[in-house]
Symmetry: C2
Subunit: 436 residues, 2 copies
């Protein structure tokens, strides 16, 4: 049997402990899959005295992460500390010391991917990052390997498990947004500060990485619409259900007239589509290829063992020599077939608009008139009675929902400017895209 | 750029034409993904005069398949003729002539896989076969690469698109089994003789291949229960729906007490599960890993371009050097961790039983008594009025449906022997497993 693959791990948090546990408890199985033993030789942690549920007797534990990245008895460095620095410096040091790198650090790759990938390429090393997007869903492999016979035409993804958990709980338990966030935090599905997840930033970063892989174009979240689930209320999920849709935080990249349409927004998805059925902390990516047609990939998007499973797959890839081939053939650098971004105003789709309006004459007419003047025609309207019984207000607020026919983002933005001026419309009102 | 990868194709039917079309119309794109040009140099066909919708001016067309398998200007042989012989001899000849092989031939691999894989291994060549199971679903890659950090605990798969199309059409169009088979044939989803598909043989062969990959154990369809959809009636789909289930032809392999439980049967699947939502010609494989948990992979399971997409992925793998690594690391040979087959009688699950009984006193009691004596307890019963209005029979036949609690296949088989003797029960009656 070939010489062992020696692993230096930086960070021994939730995912790192999971990786260590598989390597320890499944050593024979891992060796069989990898064609050689896979040994955890060094681990860098912040606090070496913390109690951990993994056996570290065979491991050199240190607080000096750089020494792990550069150690002679390390072949591959697994970076699991997250964030930009010191992760970036450590990855660069590892590459320069001749190590392959496995990372689950989406923020790092989204921000500094170009530089890191170029350096790895220059040095003939690999960076594997299956765990960085959608946890246990092997989406990097799907795009980089399974779809090579295709031009990918569209990618629609539920890649933020926290948001999906919150939306599922709201709908199934009739719970408020606030209560659902709290429960997600208690169950470990949301962080103490959930803003990266619920404001759409996390999903938008993942969309950036996936877009680079699927369309050969580097993109950052400030270049496309990003909207979070923190604007939603339970009533929106119920109105959507009444109309035959589920609302999911959907990251979308698709080719329209050879331009790239991108957005990460809570989106109404028709109930018959697989994406609408994804509940709880699960992720799903729907890919459309010009040869394959549609394909769906789904699994847990986060969590200790699902993410550890993705890291293990990367480690086996390194062990068998597949990681460098994968890395060298991934479209991580400018391609001949890159596409220009579609101007945001040109994006064409249907919209869901939910207003809280004062329940007095002519309100619907005022709104419909503004929409009509901007060429936005209506497919359906729902008006319910006041949800503020006993309100002391002269005109209690009632929800008013419009579903539009296909229109442009430009028309909606122009209409919005006028709608915001209506004294009968409470601000902010909610506008979500529809994906049929 | 590296030297071109030269392809010899044997068979230019539906899938072969699709592969040729992608290679011709997407030459630049394919070269980019493959790191070098991919050229179709030779094609063997049965009838060279047949009109085809691909341009063959740059290709050497021949009826001599062996000459393609052995040609000096061929690096990889794509076998797309199906069946055992002459496919087997041609694949062996290609391997012995130093070629890598790509095949979509599930029957060949299921029957002679051991011999072919061993020969390829001996010669240092690769056999790639992503297109052989579940068409466009990259399930070989999922098991061989994404799941390497896991012991796969179970695999539940809808892998026969023909059966799934027929079942979907029956349910959605209120159509009979016979009419749905005819429509499937007219639309090209079923062959003139659909028996391989509707009797479960095709799905069972695919399960054999997947089981070898997922559990390291070689198995043939005569070793586990195989049941087709040709026993079903529309009323079974409706009864199942009434109970909250969909019926799908499900190929299952799972570890139970370190033994392997295998079967390919029409199965009641609870509507909330993703497998229950797979409609028309789509395939889905649900994998459960001890680290990852559940994952789902879905796409078209057959058809020209979906299958061609899988063949192209294999060709790119050959071009970039990934095919040999994949082949050498696939668990295609006996593993240290193989599992014994669970005896069929020991399989534990719930059952759906649908009888056509004569509508006279004591029928339900007679059946329930036999089931009870075999320790089979009932979860629910549906009895409907006669579906033969105006029947001249003294006792018209009415459907009677039982859902059992968990029991063993052994108990069901023992009860069946007695139930078959009841004069009030029409033969054959239907018994399907339930997957909750």
């Amino acid at each position: 049997m070939a010489h062992p693959l020696r692993i230096g791990m930086i960070g021994l948090g939730t995912v790192g402990s999971g990786v260590a546990r598989i390597l320890q408890t499944q050593a024979a199985r891992t060796a069989l899959r990898a064609g050689r033993p896979v040994q955890l030789t060094r681990v860098a942690v912040r606090n070496p005295d913390r109690a951990r549920d993994v056996d570290l007797t065979e491991v050199q534990l240190t607080t000096d992460a750089l020494s792990v990245a550069q150690a002679d008895d390390v072949d591959v460095v697994v970076e699991l500390i997250g964030g930009i620095e010191p992760a970036k410096s450590l990855v660069l040091a590892a590459l320069q010391a001749g190590k392959d790198v496995v990372t689950a650090n989406k923020a790092l790759l989204c921000t500094c991917g170009d530089e890191l990938f170029a350096e790895a390429r220059r040095l003939g090393r690999s960076i594997s990052f299956e765990a960085a997007v959608a946890g246990g869903v092997p989406i990097i492999a799907a795009i980089g390997q399974a779809m090579t016979g295709n031009q990918i035409l569209s990618l629609a993804a539920i890649v933020n498990g926290t948001s999906n958990f919150i939306l599922t709980r709201m709908f199934k338990e009739n719970a408020s947004y606030e209560d659902s966030v709290r429960e997600a935090q208690q169950l470990g599905f949301a962080e103490a500060d959930p803003s990266m997840d619920v404001q759409g930033t996390d999903a938008a970063q993942k969309l950036g990485l996936l877009t680079q892989l699927a369309f050969g174009r580097r993109i950052t979240p400030d270049q496309f619409p990003v909207q979070g689930i923190d604007e939603l209320s339970l009533m929106d999920l119920k109105f959507a259900a009444e109309l035959g849709y589920a609302i999911k935080l959907l990251a979308t990249a698709k080719l329209v007239d050879q331009q790239l349409e991108l957005h990460t927004q809570p989106t109404l998805i028709r109930n018959s589509r697989p994406l609408a059925q994804v509940n709880g902390p699960y992720n799903m990516i729907e890919l459309t290829g010009d040869a394959l047609g549609k394909a769906w990939f789904s699994a847990l998007g986060a969590g200790q063992m699902a993410t550890a499973s993705a890291v293990l797959a990367d480690l086996v890839d390194v062990a068998v020599g597949r990681a460098r081939i994968n890395f060298n053939s991934l479209p991580l650098w400018p391609q001949t077939e890159t596409f220009p971004l579609q101007p945001i105003e040109k994006i064409r789709r249907r919209y869901y608009m939910r207003f809280q309006v004062e329940d007095r004459p002519h309100v619907i007419a005022d709104i419909a008139d503004i929409l009509g003047r901007h060429g936005i025609s209506l497919a359906s309207v729902i008006q319910k009675e006041s949800d503020e019984p006993g309100s002391q207000a002269e005109f209690p607020a009632v929800p008013l929902v419009f579903m539009t026919h296909v229109t442009t983002e430009g028309a909606v933005r122009a209409a919005r400017a006028e709608l915001d001026q209506l004294s009968t419309v409470r601000l902010p009102w909610l506008c979500l895209p529809v994906s049929d």
